[in-house]
Assembly symmetry: C2
Homo-oligomer: 331 residues x 2
DNA sequence: GTGAAAGCGCTAACAG
DNA sequence: CTGTTAGCGCTTTCAC
């Protein structure tokens, strides 16, 4: 291939030292004389040499790569602004730590194995980030068996106390939203969600809980609807849409016109397009960039730099332990 | 680390053969007796062995990974639905070919080098996909110097005939949009764009060209505006927004109300949120999924499976040569 | 058809 | 402080 590819061996010869010595200056070993260090560094610069991370990884059993797994079938994720903001934040932290970012999808291959599984088994990454929707017992076992550090995006409990996750405080977000609607004069504030999602997704349950408690505190009856009909029958003044799917459903004109023409709409997470919508959307959202910059949201402290990525599995649940709350931002 | 990690050596011992033999059955060498082949395959299955792609890559000088570079500072890209649809399509094709997908950003590191540069120099990927906004003379030289195959997303010429790119037919898209607005009864159809973008981005120039020619054909005066004031002064009936940025500008209420309250709005590419907007948005868009499934849009023919990724650089300009055109889809 | 050995580019003991 | 040696897990001549 590239015949004049420049390797550590060549640099060693050029500098008149052993390649082990070059390796030492590369890795900042203390036991190096200033003289040889400078000589080697000069040659490295002169020949524009960059050590091969893959070979290095093979030697030290690391890849300097973080994997991010997503469900390619989940169109919701790909339509979700929150998802991308997160992705951006993750990328920034990863790059700042001289790591690379590998996208994996829950793509099943012909032989029945998934790309994710193979990546884990082959140790093509040093750690994995995966959304709670992809965190299940099988993946837990896979990751544990291969001693692969991972962190789950979104709270999810399976009785494993050794699982690290990050999440926002959905209860508080729901509280903020409910309170704000109340302050705006609405009283028949109802929540709209998908029946199946209640049991499946913890963030839904938390949002419902936050809403219900707040309504109680306000001395108002809480009502969780799972269909538009229920909302209509209840004379809804303001409706909290648990996900954007519910929101879009209410925004869509049907043969009978808008489902709830007179109700105010509230939801979680921002979408920059909201401002152009026909109907006003009230929302709570977290300033992701702010948190990402503080390197907390993704659980990567700056100290991992150059260190083994295994530390990943020792990170605390920042979001849970510190009770960092949604900064409500209402429109 | 994982003390009982299972390697090709172990499999060889277990099967009572040499690791070279195991390697041969792994790679489907023909010169293998059916008997040993079956024996080895049995052991592999029994021990759930997966060969280490990284080590394999070191031996054959490949990584089985495709890199995708994006500009992390370009908020537009990250807010762009088209961008993500593309990403999804690329991922699918890559996974189908048993390749991995590495996200790179134009992230500058402290030492002044970019992550992209390092990835290329270290050959941590076998090929690179990069948007035309990141394709410049410096990157061209970098990629060529390191014999790194690449394909540019979006047409861009720099006098290098050996550069492969894929793009949609922006001229035809503009034509479709203009014609449709004409059919709807509008006559003072004007185009709105960013002054600087005209020279910088070929797709803008192409859209302008398509619009201008169509207007000529229709016997109408074409008018390219670069400010809202110009549009207002011209009594615009319908305005073609060259990018969504222009569109959003016209959608945003100012102190004086909407900029062009009575004009119809047209643009390129879909955004699924359009349907909820206050104002109707006319748009042309390409059915990306359709083309992605045909594996044409991203220039990865199915034949690259298991073959060196260098073929990438020999792919034809499908989109140019076949004149595959924007299927106009108007709302 | 299969084994032995060298090598991909790097790190990590172990000497000296 | 620096060189030697032995790997990391796999492929690939070259013999036999």
């Amino acid at each position: 291939m590239n015949e004049n590819k420049i390797t550590i061996q060549k640099i060693a010869e050029l500098a008149g030292v052993n390649k082990a010595t070059v390796s030492r200056v590369l890795n900042g070993s203390a036991t190096i004389s200033q003289k040889t260090k400078e000589k080697v560094e000069r040659i490295i610069k002169e020949y524009n040499y960059t050590p091969n991370t893959i070979a290095r990884g093979l030697a030290v059993n690391k890849t300097f790569t973080v994997g991010f797994c997503h469900d390619y079938k989940d169109k919701r994720a790909f339509a979700n602004h929150f998802f991308y903001k997160m992705l951006q934040g993750i990328e920034n932290v990863i790059y700042d730590n001289d790591y690379l970012f590998l996208m994996m999808s829950r793509h099943e291959r012909e032989d029945g194995t998934s790309m994710f599984e193979r990546v884990v088994k082959e140790r093509r990454v040093d750690g994995v980030i995966l959304p709670s929707s992809l965190y299940n017992e099988a993946n837990y076992r896979l990751l544990k068996e291969h001693r692969m550090p991972f962190v789950v995006l979104g709270e999810r409990e399976f009785g494993h106390s050794d699982v690290r996750w990050v999440d926002v405080d959905n209860r508080q977000a729901a509280q903020l939203l409910t309170e704000r609607l109340y302050e705006n004069g609405y009283r028949r504030i109802h929540l709209y969600t998908d029946q199946e999602a209640i049991a499946r997704d913890k963030f839904i349950a938390d949002r419902i809980d936050g809403y219900t408690r707040t309504m109680e505190k306000l001395g108002l009856p809480a009502f969780v609807a799972t269909s538009v009909g229920e909302l209509q029958a209840r004379g809804t003044e303001a409706v909290i849409c648990c996900t954007h799917e519910q929101l879009f459903e209410l925004l869509k004109e049907t043969a009978d016109g808008l489902p709830l023409p007179d109700a105010e709409l509230g939801t979680f997470d921002e979408n920059p397009m909201f401002q152009y919508f026909k109907r006003t959307v009230h929302y709570v959202s977290i300033d992701l960039e702010k948190w990402a910059n503080r390197r907390r949201i993704f659980c990567f402290p700056s100290s991992i730099k150059k260190k083994t990525f295994r530390t990943l599995s020792r990170f605390p649940h920042f979001w849970r332990e510190h009770q960092i709350l949604n900064k409500g931002q209402m429109k």
